[in-house]
C-alpha cells in the first residue's frame, strides 16, 4: 500500500515537474528539445505495445510515423482542411494502412516479421521520396500550420506547443496503462508468451495481433502528425531507417515491455546525445558499446534493472526483519519470475 502511494506521489511529482519545467528553465532551445522528445516518446509507446508486450518487433514504424506526418501535412496544406479534423484523419489513415500491412506482415514471425516490416518501412520511405507530385519529394512539405486555436488558446508559440504535446503524451501513457492492465493487454502478453498456448485457450491470435498492430501504428501516426505541426516542415528523411533505429534505441535503453521504459529511455538518450553534441557522429562510438553492454546485462533496460534491484532489496529487508524464523529463502526462479512480473507492470 505504502509503495503504491509512493509510486503515485512520484508520478504526480514527475508530471508537476514537466508542467513547471518551462517556467523554471526559460530556455527556448531546451523547450524545443524536450517537446521533440515528447513526440518521440509517443511513437516509442506505440512501438512498445507491439514489440514489447506482444513480441512482434516492427521495423516499419518510422514509415508509419512519416505517414502520419505527411497525412497531416497534405490534408492541411494541400486540402486546406481544419487542423483538428486533419489530426484525427492522419491517425486513422495511418492505422488504416497499418491494418493492411498487418494483414500480411502478421503471417510471419520473429526475424521474418522484422525483416518484412523493415522492407515495408523502406518502401514507405521510397514512396514518399519519389512521389514528387503528391509529397514534394526531396524538397519536402513546407508551411504546415500549427494546431488551430481552441477558443482563446493559441498554439503558435513554443510554450503552448510544449503543453499541447505534453497533454498528448500524458493521454498516451494513460491509454497504455489502461491497455496493459486490461484483459486485452494480458491477451497480448499471452501471445508474446506462446501463440500456441494462447490459441488453445480460445484466443484468436490473428485478430488480437491485428488489433495491437493497428493500435501501435495509430500512435506512430499520432506522433508523426504532432511532429509535422510542431516542426512545420517535413521531408522524406523522417521515414528513413535511421529513425526506427533511434526509436528502438530509446525503447531498449528505457526497457522494452515496461510502462515507464519509453519515457525513461527517450529522455535519457536525447539528453545524453544533446550533451555529447560536440563529438558529432563520433557519439556513436560511445553509444554503440554502451547499448551493447546494456542489452547483455539488462535486457529489460533501465526500468527492468531498477525493478530487479528493488526486488532484491525488499527480499533482503524481509529476511533481515525476521532473522529468527527460518523461512526458506526464495529460490532464484521465484525471485526472478516475480521480478519479471513487476517489470511487466512497471
Amino acid at each position: 500500500m505504502a509503495a503504491l502511494l509512493r509510486k503515485r506521489v512520484f508520478i504526480i511529482g514527475l508530471i508537476g515537474l514537466a508542467v513547471l519545467f518551462p517556467l523554471i528553465i526559460q530556455n527556448e532551445y531546451f523547450l524545443h528539445v524536450l517537446t521533440l522528445a515528447f513526440i518521440w516518446m509517443i511513437a516509442v509507446y506505440g512501438l512498445n505495445l507491439l514489440a514489447g508486450y506482444t513480441g512482434y518487433l516492427s521495423l516499419a514504424h518510422a514509415g508509419f510515423f512519416a505517414i502520419g506526418a505527411y497525412a497531416l501535412g497534405l490534408l492541411t496544406v494541400k486540402a486546406g482542411m481544419n487542423y483538428w479534423i486533419a489530426l484525427v484523419l492522419a491517425c486513422l489513415i495511418t492505422s488504416g494502412i497499418g491494418f493492411l500491412v498487418g494483414l500480411v506482415a502478421l503471417r510471419t514471425r520473429e526475424h521474418f516479421f522484422a525483416i518484412y516490416t523493415l522492407c515495408v518501412g523502406y518502401i514507405i520511405y521510397l514512396v514518399i521520396d519519389k512521389w514528387d507530385s503528391l509529397t514534394g519529394g526531396v524538397r519536402g512539405l513546407i508551411g504546415i500550420p500549427a494546431p488551430a486555436n481552441i477558443g482563446p488558446v493559441s498554439f503558435e508559440n513554443p510554450l503552448s506547443q510544449y503543453y499541447f504535446i505534453l497533454a498528448f503524451l500524458l493521454l498516451t501513457i494513460l491509454v497504455m496503462y489502461r491497455i496493459v492492465h486490461s484483459l486485452t493487454g494480458r491477451t497480448f502478453m499471452a501471445i508474446r508468451n506462446s501463440e500456441e498456448l494462447a490459441q488453445t485457450l480460445g484466443i484468436s491470435t490473428m485478430k488480437n495481433k491485428l488489433l495491437v498492430f493497428v493500435l501501435s501504428t495509430f500512435f506512430a501516426g499520432l506522433a508523426g502528425a504532432l511532429y509535422a505541426s510542431f516542426i512545420r516542415f517535413i521531408g522524406p528523411d523522417i521515414g528513413y531507417i535511421t529513425i526506427i533505429f533511434d526509436l528502438l534505441t530509446y525503447l531498449l535503453v528505457g526497457g522494452i515491455g515496461t510502462l515507464a521504459g519509453p519515457v525513461v529511455g527517450t529522455f535519457l538518450v536525447v539528453w545524453v546525445s544533446q550533451s555529447l553534441q560536440f563529438l558529432q557522429d563520433y557519439r556513436m562510438l560511445i553509444f554503440g558499446p554502451l547499448l551493447t553492454l546494456l542489452i547483455i546485462f539488462y535486457p529489460r533496460g533501465i526500468v527492468g534493472a531498477f525493478y530487479e534491484w528493488k526486488m532484491k532489496r525488499t527480499g533482503k529487508k524481509r529476511r533481515q526483519a525476521r532473522p529468527d524464523r527460518r523461512k526458506p529463502e526464495p529460490t532464484y526462479a521465484a525471485t526472478q519470475t516475480s521480478s519479471e512480473k513487476k517489470v511487466k507492470e512497471g
Binding site: 484483459l183 494480458r186 491477451t187 502478453m189 499471452a190 508468451n193 506462446s194 500456441e196 498456448l197 490459441q199 488453445t200 485457450l201 480460445g202 484466443i203 484468436s204 526464495p330 529460490t331 526462479a333 521465484a334 526472478q336 519470475t337 516475480s338 519479471e340 512480473k341 511487466k344
Partner: protein
C-alpha cells in the same frame, strides 16, 4: 460425443498417426495409452485444431470440427491441457485462471462460478492466487494448468500426460482429482504412460503403438490383457 474416424496426421511426409478411430461417449473417462512417440499428443493436437488432419474426420456433438481453428473448437466445448504444462509464468495464478475463461470473457457470472469450482477442486490455487505462476512447484503448476483449462467450462477435457514428472504421491492425488472432474460431469480424454494408475479411474482405453491403435477395450479388459500388462504395467 467425440468421434475420430480414420484420422491421419502427418508432419511433412512422416505420418505421426495413421487411420485412428476413437469414440468417446458423453460422461466417459477414456484413456489413450502408449509409450514415447506413439502418437498421443499428435492425436490431441488434431482434435484441438493445432494440427490439420491430412485424412479422416473429427466430429464433436455430431458436428465436424476437423481443420477448424483452435478458438472455434474451444468455444464449442473442447479444451486441451497440453503435456508441457505451459503457463504464463509472469502472470499470477489468478490471472492465469482468468485467461482460461477467455471464451467467456463477457460473462462475469459464469467466470465467478467457474472460479469457485476450480478453487473447490484445488484449494491451493486460491491460497496462492497472487503468486507468480512461475514460482509454483511442478505439481502445483500442473494443477494450475488443469484448473485453467476447466475455466472455459469444457464439455470435453483433453489431458495430455498430467502425471509426467510428478512425485508418486502427487500423481495419486492428480488422478483422484481427474476422477472427480469426470464424476462431476466433464467428459475426459486422458493420454498417459502410467497405465496402472490411469486404468484404475478410466472406463475404457485405447493402446497406441507407433501411430496406430493396437488394442482397445474396457479398463478391466486392458488390465488383464497380457500384451498391455507386459508393455505398460510391468507384470
Amino acid at each position: 460425443m467425440l468421434k475420430l474416424s480414420g484420422l491421419t496426421v502427418t508432419y511433412g511426409s512422416f505420418a505421426a498417426i495413421e487411420d485412428v478411430t476413437i469414440d468417446v461417449a458423453e460422461g466417459e473417462l477414456v484413456v489413450l495409452l502408449g509409450s514415447n512417440g506413439a502418437g498421443k499428443s499428435s492425436t490431441f493436437r488434431a482434435i484441438s485444431g493445432l494440427e490439420k488432419p491430412s485424412a479422416g474426420g473429427i466430429t464433436f456433438d455430431g458436428k465436424n470440427i476437423a481443420g477448424q481453428s483452435p478458438e472455434r473448437i474451444v468455444k464449442s466445448g473442447v479444451v486441451q491441457c497440453a503435456e508441457d504444462r505451459k503457463l504464463f509464468p509472469q502472470m499470477t495464478v489468478h490471472e492465469n485462471l482468468i485467461m482460461g475463461a477467455y471464451v467467456h470473457r463477457k460473462k462475469k457470472k459464469e467466470i465467478r462460478q467457474a472460479l469457485e469450482n476450480v478453487h473447490a477442486l484445488f484449494p491451493m490455487l486460491q491460497e496462492k492466487k497472487d503468486h507468480a505462476a512461475g514460482s509454483l512447484s511442478g505439481g502445483q503448476q500442473q494443477m494450475l494448468a488443469i484448473g485453467r483449462a476447466l475455466m472455459s467450462r469444457p464439455k470435453l477435457l483433453l489431458l495430455d500426460e498430467p502425471s509426467i514428472g510428478l512425485a508418486p504421491l502427487i500423481v495419486e492425488q492428480m488422478f483422484e482429482v481427474i476422477h472427480q472432474i469426470n464424476q462431476e460431469g466433464t467428459t475426459v480424454l486422458l493420454a498417459e504412460q502410467n497405465a496402472n494408475a490411469a486404468l484404475k479411474i478410466a472406463d475404457r482405453g485405447y493402446v497406441f503403438e507407433s501411430g496406430s491403435i493396437v488394442v482397445q477395450g474396457t479398463s478391466e479388459e486392458l488390465f488383464t490383457n497380457d500384451a498391455v500388462r507386459k508393455a505398460y504395467i510391468g507384470a
